[in-house]
């Protein structure tokens, strides 16, 4: 992006992007740690993830304040305006991603008979794809790279396919082992949360594309 006459505007934009990146980094770690805690049954780690979500929330309100301030004081135009609007929206979405991770972490203590519960082994692979999407979309945001953003959008199909197969797997597991229904139902929610994280990463990717090019990605990608 070209430099602006008003140096303070550049500084504000840089700070805004830094805040978004910081939120994203926290959200990435939250997904991974929430799943780690889920698979290992580490409630302490789960509690940490829940506690750290407050930091993401605080950052989101900081992003909001800064974005509103930039719009009010500098009245940005064209790509500058897109940049600020995108940051405003991405901040909200990343905060949601953090909430989903928190939700996964909250369910750690609700799984019973962890040792003999095979559906647990299905989740990490799905979580890996979802957190990779979040990682890639944040890299795309940092680099203002629309083509990487489109790749992320294409990956969402994989997460959806995973979700469907985990859903079927869990349902058949519930039919065979009625005793584990409550635990399996919790895992359904976890899988659902991961699927939502994938969708939100797709949303961010669309906004990255918008901020970089001024258009939303073509429909066939979405």
């Amino acid at each position: 992006m070209a430099d602006h006459t008003v140096k303070a505007f550049d500084e504000d934009i840089t700070r805004l992007r830094g805040l978004i990146a910081e939120m994203g980094g926290l959200a990435e770690v939250a997904i991974q740690e929430a799943l780690d805690a889920m698979v290992r049954g580490d409630e302490e780690l789960g509690d940490q993830v829940v506690a750290r979500d407050a930091k993401i929330d605080a950052l989101e309100s900081e992003v909001d304040r800064l974005a509103v301030r930039i719009i009010a004081l500098r009245a940005p135009m064209a790509d500058d305006l897109r940049e600020v609007i995108a940051a405003l929206k991405i901040g909200g979405v990343v905060e949601r991603i953090g909430d989903y991770s928190k939700n996964i972490a909250k369910r750690v203590g609700m799984i019973e008979g962890r040792d003999r519960f095979e559906p647990l082994t299905l989740l990490p692979a799905m979580g890996e794809i979802a957190s990779e999407m979040v990682h890639d979309v944040l890299t795309a945001y940092a680099a203002r790279d629309p083509s990487l953003a489109r790749e992320v959008i294409a990956t969402d199909a994989k997460v959806d396919a995973f979700y469907n197969s985990i859903f079927r797997n869990l349902v058949s597991h519930m039919v065979e082992n009625p005793a584990t229904i409550s635990s399996a139902a919790q895992l359904l929610f976890v899988a659902r949360n991961l699927e939502r994280i994938g969708d939100h990463a797709t949303n961010v990717a669309e906004m990255v594309h918008f901020a970089a090019t001024g258009t939303y990605p073509p429909e066939e990608d979405r």
């Binding site: 840089t14 992007r17 910081e22 980094g25 990435e28 990682h135 940092a142 680099a143 790279d145």
Partner: protein, 413 residues
């Protein structure tokens, strides 16, 4: 110093003009000329002295430009930040983190919480950051402040070190797993035999016993492989000193590996007279493992060709070639890893321990040799071992080694 350059021409011209003016103004020419001489003389005297050094040397503030030049070609990715905005990044850092990071907030390049908390404090320090570029990466981020605004950030890749320590844990886990598998079978069959011996007919009991024996033998070969592996590793750094005739070692070990049943599948084409420094037992083990693999994984009824000749670089070259289904290229780099199997089921069924090639690799390394594996799917595999030929030494044994040297030359002109 060139005198003319220090000549105070301006001063002399000024003196001349002044004297000319004095003469025009009717001053005594003798006084005027003596003033001129004193003036010009003092000018010349002063010009011979070196210029006085400047009183205070002002310390130049470090410019980002000079730092950029300093770090540009460093092999370590390095960045310079100015109030937590990335002011400069050297080539490796740009390659790693992307061209876009310059001018951005440091958090855009390092969004991991560990790194952000390092940058939030203004102090020097390091942080271990996971997943900086790819998921499994581990980098050490080192931040050193230069002044109030500027700081240098250095990135050190520690993924490999973490890999090594993981490899060690993996090895222990793999080894215990491999040892437990045959043991579980033995225990199971022994239990069945002892609890229901009266209900078992003798053929079944015999079958059980033969399974027990097979598993026990596998356990035995596993343990002896593990022991020889650890022995080779322990001796890795002391070079073997015995001088051996390589062809003799190869022939004996190859026939030994083939045994009486498979010996007709073996084709030996060995040039004699290559002397190498080596450990007889270990070199035999190399040949035994390679030939055994080739016979085992080559298609039945096909020949295994063992060639020994001299490579151009003064090395003895041993090739073991089979005609089997070959190995897929993606497996080849991993073949010498312990317990690595391209097809676990088949390898275990044929009694493999998963350690053979790892042992070969370590022995060849100890002999300062090289191991190459080539394979074509559907055609077969060729494994080449090169070991340096022993230099002729002052010992009298040298004389006896001469004639075979000639034989070698004749066979391979």
């Amino acid at each position: 110093m060139d005198f003319r350059h220090s000549l105070p021409i301006a001063g002399i011209v000024l003196a001349n003009i002044t004297i000319a003016a004095l003469i025009i103004l009717d001053v005594d020419p003798i006084i005027a000329i003596s003033v001129l001489i004193v003036w010009v003389g003092s000018l010349l005297l002063a010009s011979g002295k070196p210029p006085e050094p400047p009183a205070i040397i002002v310390e130049q503030p470090i410019s980002i430009d000079s730092m950029r030049k300093l770090v540009e070609n460093s092999s370590t990715p390095m960045l310079v930040t100015e109030r937590n905005t990335i002011a400069a990044a050297n080539r490796n850092a740009r390659k790693m983190l992307g061209q876009h990071i310059i001018g951005q907030d440091a958090r855009v390049a390092f969004r991991q919480p560990e790194a952000i908390s390092l940058f939030a404090t203004d102090s020097n320090g390091t942080a271990i950051v996971r997943g900086l570029v790819r998921r499994q990466d581990i980098w050490r981020v080192n931040r050193q402040s230069i002044d109030d605004d500027l700081a240098v950030i250095e990135l050190i890749n520690q993924t490999a070190e973490a890999d090594i320590s993981r490899a060690h844990t993996d090895f222990v886990a793999n080894a215990s797993h491999e040892l437990r598998t045959p043991l579980a079978a033995i225990l199971g069959y022994v239990e069945t035999l002892s609890e229901s011996s009266e209900n078992l007919d003798s053929p079944t009991a015999k079958k059980f016993l033969s399974t027990i024996q097979r598993e026990a033998e596998r356990l035995h070969s596993l343990i002896s492989d593990l022991m020889s592996l650890s022995r080779v590793e322990a001796e890795k750094h002391d070079a073997p000193r015995d001088k051996l005739e390589f062809a003799e070692v190869v022939e004996r070990a190859a026939r030994d590996a083939a045994g009486s049943q498979r010996t007709d599948r073996l084709t030996l084409n060995l040039a004699s007279g290559a002397y190498v420094h080596g450990d007889r037992g270990q070199l035999e083990q190399v040949v035994r493992n390679l030939v055994d693999n080739a016979l085992k994984y080559g298609a039945p009824e096909t020949n295994v060709l063992v060639t020994l000749d001299r490579a151009r670089s003064g090395e003895a070259r041993l090739c073991v070639e089979d005609h089997g289904e070959g190995i897929a290229p993606e497996h080849i780099p991993h073949l010498t890893r312990r317990f690595y199997r391209t097809d676990p089921g088949r390898s275990r069924a044929s009694g493999g321990t998963g350690l053979g090639l790892a042992i070969v690799k370590h022995i060849v390394e100890r002999h300062k040799g090289r191991l190459d594996i080539e394979s074509k799917l559907g055609k077969g595999t060729r494994i080449t071992v090169r070991i340096p030929i022993a230099k002729s030494d002052p010992e009298p044994a040298n004389v006896s080694s001469r004639p075979p040297e000639r034989v070698w030359e004749e066979e391979h002109p």
